[in-house]
């Protein structure tokens, strides 16, 4: 018990004694704020569950997600030990769902790696440099912004070939402009802040200022946007899957599963609906999480 209290005290110390303690303390403070937000916690819990499901899929799955059994197709949930029924090729939906979680998380990670980063780099450079650099980069952003998103993604996929990586790449390539805009707007306000002037006066160059001082401040608003957008991204990936350009069979990607199952929606509703619910759950989790993060990271919108 005392170990626990002392850890807490250590974390919440008014006067941290080391860099590590300061950093952990700051994290802990945010965590406390976050924890008090019930809905956000719900989101986090769902997400953690999904991640656990993805990690332990081999343990949790009752069947091989790819094993077909044409004699056992389109079984209703619960029949013959298939918890969530089987699909049109007689594969166990529950097991596929578990493995599908891996793909969804993979998508999320991949997009989260590419789009916001690209947006961050472009937006902060444009915002900080100003002048014609800004002009050129922002025109580029406008062009991609004016582009119909799904269509651009479709075009990319059509060009690169169908498949989950390409789908994600395509989505990322279409998703960065809003991030660039946010990052730029944020940079414009930060750039004239006194603490940036101060560091300039210390002799720091633009690269250092952008990466060390501006990025950390843009990241929180980007992170909020990313989590809120994540649902949209998963849905876009699913949409590409629906159009047949996302994950390829026999991959148990949820969007592709819906797409496969939609043929049967009138008689075997669960085949499409269960992955639909899974997508709903993960999007919901991200949305709740994003809302919560906004309260934590962006006090001006959340506060009382």
């Amino acid at each position: 018990m005392s170990a626990e209290t002392s850890l807490k005290e250590w974390l919440l110390a008014e006067e941290p004694q080391s860099r590590r303690q300061a950093r952990w303390g700051a994290w802990y403070q945010s965590w406390l704020t976050f924890r008090s937000n019930t809905l956000a916690m719900a989101g986090l819990i769902i997400l953690v569950l999904i991640i656990l499901a993805a990690i332990f899929a081999p343990l949790l799955a009752t069947d091989d997600p790819f094993a077909q059994d044409l004699g056992q197709r389109l079984l209703a949930p619960g029949v013959d030990g298939h918890l969530l029924g089987t699909d049109s090729l007689g594969r166990d939906i529950y097991s596929r769902l578990l493995y599908g979680a891996r793909i969804s998380i993979y998508i999320v990670l991949l997009v989260a790696m590419v789009a916001p980063l690209l947006g961050l780099v472009i937006g902060t450079i444009a915002g900080y440099m100003g002048g014609w650099t800004d002009e050129v980069l922002m025109r580029l952003t406008d062009i991609f912004l004016a582009f119909p998103r799904l269509i651009l993604a479709l075009a990319f996929v059509a060009a690169l070939g169908a498949g989950i990586e390409n789908a994600v790449l395509a989505i990322s390539l279409t998703a960065w402009p809003p991030y660039a805009r946010i990052a730029r707007a944020e940079t414009l306000t930060i750039r004239s802040a006194d603490f940036i002037h101060a560091i300039r006066l210390q002799g720091a160059g633009p690269i250092r200022i952008i990466t060390r001082h501006i990025w950390p401040l843009c990241i929180s608003s980007l992170m909020i946007r990313v989590t809120l957008d994540m649902a949209g991204i998963i849905l876009t990936a699913a949409g590409l899957g629906f159009l047949g350009l996302g994950a390829q069979p026999p991959s148990p990607e949820w969007g592709a599963m819906i797409s496969e199952g939609r043929k049967y929606i009138l008689d075997y509703w669960w085949v499409a609906t269960i992955p639909g619910l899974a997508i709903f759950a993960i999007s919901l989790a991200f949305n709740l999480l994003g809302d919560g993060l906004r309260d934590v990271l962006d006090p001006k919108e959340g506060g009382a």
Binding site: D194, F195, A198, Q202, G203, L217
Partner: protein
């Protein structure tokens, strides 16, 4: 040798119909070790002069020499940053919200190629009256006065000769203001610094400076010693008006 010499400095902002002349043909010099004040109403161009010196304003004209180094445009040499530092008006805006005091100070030292950072940080914090306990705090864990001390510590980190002070206490309570003013006075006598300080509070200028320029609409109305100010020994009516209203508001 003068620490700062300025000749015919002009600053324009905006363009076309929005063109404003923020500073209009300003000349002055500040001797080594002197403390020079800039007073005047809001928008008269006080801060702009400091920012021009610091290299934060693009496109000014005129001549400025700082510690023998002639300044151009926004470019400032490494040596300049070592010699000249600035403290800003708003302690809430002048610290990076995501960086600990430690990080702020150590980065400033790193940039100047200073070694032995740990020991120096401890000493700096002591110098500005904070103590080592504050080293790993984030700005939001500090009061306004404490933040301003951190900002001063940051400015002192490269061991400069000249400090530019832009209303360093106007965002603070009187009680805290007193602490900061005392600190600045102590540092000057200990380290032999040169100050250029902006304030609209004549009391503050009077406390810290030996000489002050009165500004109006981007121009120097008058430059006079603090003693002359006290005696209301002025030539310009604007200066007199400023001094009178300031004295009246206090008493």
């Amino acid at each position: 040798m003068n620490a700062i010499e300025a000749r015919g400095v002009d600053v324009y902002f905006g363009s076309g119909a929005e063109l404003t002349r923020a500073v209009n043909d300003v000349s002055f010099e500040v001797a080594q070790g002197e403390s020079f004040g800039l007073v005047g109403e809001s928008g008269s161009g006080k801060s702009t002069i400091l920012r021009v010196i610091a290299g934060l304003v693009p496109g000014w004209t005129g001549e400025i020499t700082v510690a023998g180094e002639s300044l151009q445009d926004e470019k400032r040499s490494r040596a300049f940053h070592k010699k000249v530092q600035m403290v800003f008006q708003d302690p809430y805006a002048s610290l990076h919200p995501r960086q600990t005091v430690d990080r702020v100070l150590s980065e400033a030292m790193e940039l100047q190629g200073i070694t032995d950072i740990n020991r120096r940080i401890t000493r700096l914090l002591n110098d500005v009256g904070l103590g080592a306990g504050f080293r790993f705090r984030y700005p939001h864990q500090l009061s306004g006065g404490q933040r301003q001390r951190v900002a001063i510590a940051r400015a002192l980190a490269p061991e400069p000769e000249i400090l530019l002070l832009d209303e360093p206490t106007s965002a603070l309570d009187v009680s805290v203001q007193a602490e900061i003013l005392n600190l600045l006075a102590d540092l000057r006598s200990e380290l032999g610094l040169t100050y250029v300080m902006v304030s609209h509070d004549l009391g503050v200028v009077g406390h810290l400076c030996g000489r002050a320029a009165v500004m109006k609409d981007g121009e120097f109305v008058e430059v006079l010693g603090i003693d002359a100010m006290r005696r209301l020994d002025v030539t310009q009516p604007y200066t007199r008006h400023l001094l009178e209203s300031s004295i009246r508001s206090i008493r």
